[in-house]
Structures are given as structure tokens and as C-alpha cells.
């Protein structure tokens, strides 16, 4: 079975982001970009399935500007077999990405799609669920553990009250939560090898998908800043402040 994983290029999680002075968005020029951490977990899970002989091929998908090739290369260096980039400079929103992925799924016929549960830039948490809807497939979101066997998958999900176990029919879309696995680092030889792995580059038009944004960003602003408070020396002083100044205990 082929496994398709989606990898998004986002501002690196260690970077402190800056809102643009004209409030049109967040500064991305000269900022370190990396693979969305949840997508690393998706790639790792697919690779483990391949190592166990469940997956035959791992395909890394990305969509966006030409630089997304670097993100796909990272997935290839981790061990994915080949890449597919839908290249466009249009701002891609989750519904558009889900439609692009559906077109690729229709062509590649994977048995499983694994994506990160959310991207750390727009924090939408939508694409996997949307893709499952468009395909009419089952969905195992916020996966903490995944077991695939005999045409179905058992998924342990992280939910509000703890964990939940569901059994879903394959093909399916899985979205990864933090505890699913710990992604590997790419070794130098594998980084070299990844340079020779193929990446198909397609245009949204070729897939017949309209990627025009449905949601318009009117402005992006800094959040209200919290003032740093005071340091107290003793517990007695703290309790006094909480009781008599803040009135919260």
C-alpha cells in the first residue's frame, strides 16, 4: 500500500515571529523556514509503516511556492521515496490544499494519507478532515497510536477527556498528534541520497483545482501585551497579594 504524507513549509518553531508594520501579515522574508513539526511526525509514522512492510512506498506531498521543494527534500532525506509539489504563489487555504490533495490521491491511489493535525503558522487544524470529507473516507484525527491491519486501522485519539479508540475502514486519512512518535533526524548520507530522489512538480490548473482563497485576511496585528508583574520574595507575600490585591483566593 502506498502512503501519502503532506508536508508544509512554515516558519521554524524556534523563530519569534514579527507582525509586518503595515498589518498585512507576518514577516517571512529572511526568516528560517522548516517542516511543520506535526508533519514530521506524519512522515515518521509512514516510514515506520514501510519498515514494518505495511507500506510499499511513501510519497511526500507539498503545495505552495517553489521553495516547498526544500521541505519535500527534508521528507526524502528522512526516507520518503518521492515527492509531489503543487507549485503556486497563490495563498493556499486548507480547503484548497485538501482539493489539491484529493486530485493527487485520485491519481496515486494511496491506501492511507497521513498529515499533521495542524500547522503551527495558521493553526487551522482543518486539512486532514477536509480531505477525508472530499474523498468520502474515514478519518482518524489527533492520533496518539496507529495500528494498521486487514483493511482497517485502529486509532487511539487524543481527546478532551483523555484517549479514545476507534476503528476505521481503509482507505483513511490520519492526522497526527504529538505523542504518536518521535521523528528521526536525517543522516548526512540520506540527505545526499535525497538529492537524487524524484519530485514531480504540477500546477493547480493541471489538477483542475480552483485554489482561490475563500477567506480574506483584513489585517494582522500584535496581540495585546501582558505587562510583566512583580517578583515576590516569600510565599507569605504571595498569598497576601493573591488574597488582598488580586482577590483570587
Amino acid at each position: 500500500m502506498k502512503v501519502l504524507v503532506a508536508v508544509k513549509r512554515v516558519i521554524d518553531y524556534n523563530v519569534k515571529i514579527r507582525v509586518k508594520a503595515d498589518n498585512t501579515g507576518v514577516e517571512t522574508a529572511n526568516v528560517k523556514m522548516s517542516m511543520n513539526p506535526f508533519d514530521e511526525i506524519a512522515v515518521e509514522e509512514a516510514l515506520r509503516m514501510k519498515e514494518k512492510g505495511i507500506a510499499t512506498e511513501v510519497i511526500a506531498f507539498s503545495a505552495g511556492p517553489a521553495q516547498c521543494q526544500e521541505t519535500i527534500r527534508t521528507a526524502l532525506a528522512m526516507g520518503a521515496d518521492r515527492g509531489i509539489l503543487v507549485q503556486t504563489d497563490v495563498e493556499l487555504q486548507p480547503l484548497a490544499v485538501a482539493k489539491l490533495m484529493k486530485a493527487v490521491v485520485d491519481k496515486e491511489q494511496p491506501g492511507l494519507v497521513i498529515v499533521g493535525k495542524q500547522a503551527i503558522d495558521d493553526d487551522s487544524n482543518q486539512t486532514g478532515q477536509m480531505l477525508a470529507a472530499l474523498l468520502g473516507w474515514s478519518q482518524g484525527t489527533f492520533a496518539n497510536k496507529l495500528h494498521v491491519a486487514d483493511g482497517s486501522a485502529e486509532v487511539k485519539r487524543e481527546v478532551d477527556g483523555g484517549l479514545e479508540n476507534i476503528k476505521i475502514k481503509l482507505p483513511a486519512v490520519i492526522t497526527t498528534d504529538l505523542r504518536l512518535n518521535e521523528p528521526r533526524y536525517a543522516s548526512l548520507p540520506n540527505i545526499m541520497k535525497a538529492k537524487k530522489k524524484p519530485i514531480d512538480v504540477l500546477a493547480p490548473d493541471a489538477l483542475g483545482v480552483d485554489v482561490a482563497p475563500r477567506i480574506k485576511t483584513l489585517k494582522v496585528e500584535e496581540p495585546p501585551k501582558r505587562k510583566a508583574g512583580i517578583k515576590v520574595k516569600t510565599v507569605a507575600e504571595l498569598v497576601d497579594k493573591l488574597r488582598n490585591e488580586a482577590g483570587v483566593i
Binding site: 493553526d123 487524543e158 484517549l163 477567506i215 488580586a246
Partner: protein, 311 residues
């Protein structure tokens, strides 16, 4: 046109955050309906009817809805959606699972975790773990929106909306519920607790969380944790406060042995009063704390527990 709030429930009552969703929905339009789908959901439907601001409750009975599987609930919502201008859910693990599936089936975009309704088509939502706030406008005919419950105060009072029975849409057969491993706790639920005591990597072990439990119980507080503490296996995943865990905004948040990574701050910086206890005086948590104590938590926490005891 009316607004449809899709309510999660435990079979007896709808979740507390449904009242927050109704409050958010009332900023989008005046006629708010609540969908309560389930198997034997009569009591839950009654609890929804009693929420202030609800005009009508739709109760959909079907064995397929017993466990809130997205594959079964989404088609029901999609069937009802054309009668509504908005479909609203709380941004909890149920809403996050179902709402995008509904949106895609309707071929509309979704607005995730709105914290403010500017106008019926314009919303403010946090991006980059709350380090930026985006004002976004949806051009779709039906707007599917998840809302962050802590940002919408439930409207006081009670209502007595009519309950209308509607048919179910049946099971998809795609997915089935096997079981749940839920954390059992007598403590207040994290997202609605007035006080939250939270522990981080500084606790150094799951065993040491007992110390926080004692403090939490003295204060009548909910118990939370940083991602580091959950990843290290000290406490279960549902304790996690942060960008990808729970978002809390209690009157008092006590961060103990938590350094204050950006993704943690995203989940608690709207708390009214923040206390930080950390041995590292440079820890970023002190930049958002109203009151900080630099020192050894293993000394300070027992002292604090004793001090809140004697009023």
C-alpha cells in the same frame, strides 16, 4: 437566517462550552438553534433548551450518533446547513474533528478558533500560537466557525426553547467506536475551572505531581501541565495546556516549574492573574506573570499549600 450551534454532550447534559458557543452565535445573528444529536439524547436536548438565547433545539436520535463519530455526524449537519447562515461549534476535540468535515462537504472554508465576532462575516482569530491576531472575512454563503469558548462569556439566565425531533441520517459504516480511556478526576474540568494549577518539566517526575494535586485540592483548582511534562509521561495528554492542547483562562493560573515556551503561553496568557514559580529567574514565564517567585518549587509548593490552608 438562523445560526446552528452543534452541541457535544455526555448523554445527560450538553458540554458547558455550548453556552459559550451560543453566546458567540448570538453575535452572528439573533435566531440561534442548537443541534443535539445522540442516542437517548433527550436529557441533553433539555439542557440545551435551558441555555439563555437558544430559540429552538433540534434533537436527532440515531444509534449512529452515540459516540460522536465525524463520519456520521457531519452528513446530518450538512443536511441541515442550507437553512442556516452559520454553523458554529466550540473548538474542542469534538468541534475540531467534525467542523472541517462539514465545511468541506458544503464546499466552504472554515474559520478556526474565533475569539471575537466583529460582524456576521468577520472574525478575529489567533495565528502563530497567539503571537498574532488575524481579522478574517469569509465570503462563503454558509459560514462554518469554531469558537474558542474562553473568549465568549455565557449569557446569564435560562431559557425554555422548544425541542423539535428530527430524523437521523443513519450510519456511514466508515468508522466505529471501540472504547475510551478517560482520566478520572474529581477536580474541576480544566477549561472551566476558576483556578488552575499547572506543572512542567521542573516537577521532574509524575510522582511529584502529587504535590500539585494537594495544592489544587486545597484551592478547588483544576490540574494542568506543560507539553514537556506530558511528553515526559508525568501526566496524561488531556492535562496539556497550550497551542495544541487546551486553552484556559481562569481567574488564577499557577505555573509551577514551567519555563513558558511560546506554545504554552498560547494556552494560558488570557488568565486573569498568573503566578509563576520557577528556579530560573530568566524563564520567559516571568514575562507574563503578575506575581513570580524565584526559587525551588519543592520548597515553595508545600509552603504555599500550607499557607492557603490557614485563612
Amino acid at each position: 437566517m438562523a445560526i446552528l450551534v452543534v452541541a457535544a454532550h455526555d448523554g445527560k447534559t450538553v458540554r458547558a462550552n455550548v453556552a459559550n458557543a451560543v453566546a458567540a452565535a448570538s453575535h452572528m445573528g439573533s435566531d440561534v438553534h442548537v443541534l443535539v444529536a445522540g442516542s437517548n439524547a433527550g436529557d441533553a436536548a433539555k439542557s440545551a433548551a435551558a441555555i439563555q438565547g437558544v430559540a429552538k433545539v433540534l434533537q436527532a436520535e440515531d444509534a449512529a450518533y452515540a459516540n460522536w463519530l465525524a463520519e456520521d455526524i457531519a452528513p446530518l449537519v450538512v443536511k441541515l446547513a442550507p437553512n442556516y447562515s452559520h454553523v458554529v461549534m466550540a473548538a474542542d476535540s469534538v468541534g475540531k474533528n467534525i467542523a472541517p468535515r462539514v465545511a468541506a462537504l458544503l464546499d466552504v472554508a472554515q474559520v478556526s478558533e474565533a475569539i471575537q465576532v466583529v460582524s456576521p462575516d468577520t472574525f478575529v482569530r489567533p495565528i502563530y500560537a497567539g503571537n498574532a491576531m488575524a481579522t478574517v472575512q469569509s465570503s462563503d454563503k454558509i459560514k462554518v466557525v469554531t469558537i474558542r469558548p474562553t473568549n465568549f462569556k455565557a449569557v446569564a439566565g435560562s431559557g425554555s426553547a422548544a425541542i423539535e425531533q428530527i430524523g437521523g441520517a443513519g450510519a456511514s459504516g466508515l468508522s466505529s467506536f471501540v472504547g475510551a480511556e478517560l482520566s478520572k478526576s474529581e477536580r474541576p474540568e480544566l477549561t472551566s475551572a476558576k483556578i488552575v494549577v499547572s506543572g512542567g518539566r521542573g516537577l521532574a517526575s509524575g510522582e511529584n505531581f502529587k504535590m500539585l494535586e494537594t495544592l489544587a485540592d486545597k484551592l478547588g483548582a483544576g490540574l494542568g501541565a506543560s507539553r514537556a511534562a506530558v511528553d515526559a509521561g508525568y501526566v496524561p495528554n488531556d492535562y496539556q495546556v497550550g497551542q495544541t492542547g487546551k486553552v484556559v483562562a481562569p481567574d488564577l493560573y499557577i505555573a509551577i516549574g514551567i519555563s513558558g515556551a511560546i506554545q504554552h503561553l498560547a494556552g494560558m496568557k488570557d488568565s486573569k492573574t498568573i503566578v509563576a514559580i520557577n528556579k530560573d529567574e530568566e524563564a520567559p514565564i516571568f514575562q507574563v506573570a503578575d506575581y513570580g517567585i524565584v526559587g525551588d518549587l519543592f520548597q515553595i509548593v508545600p509552603e504555599l499549600t500550607a499557607a492557603v490552608d490557614k485563612k
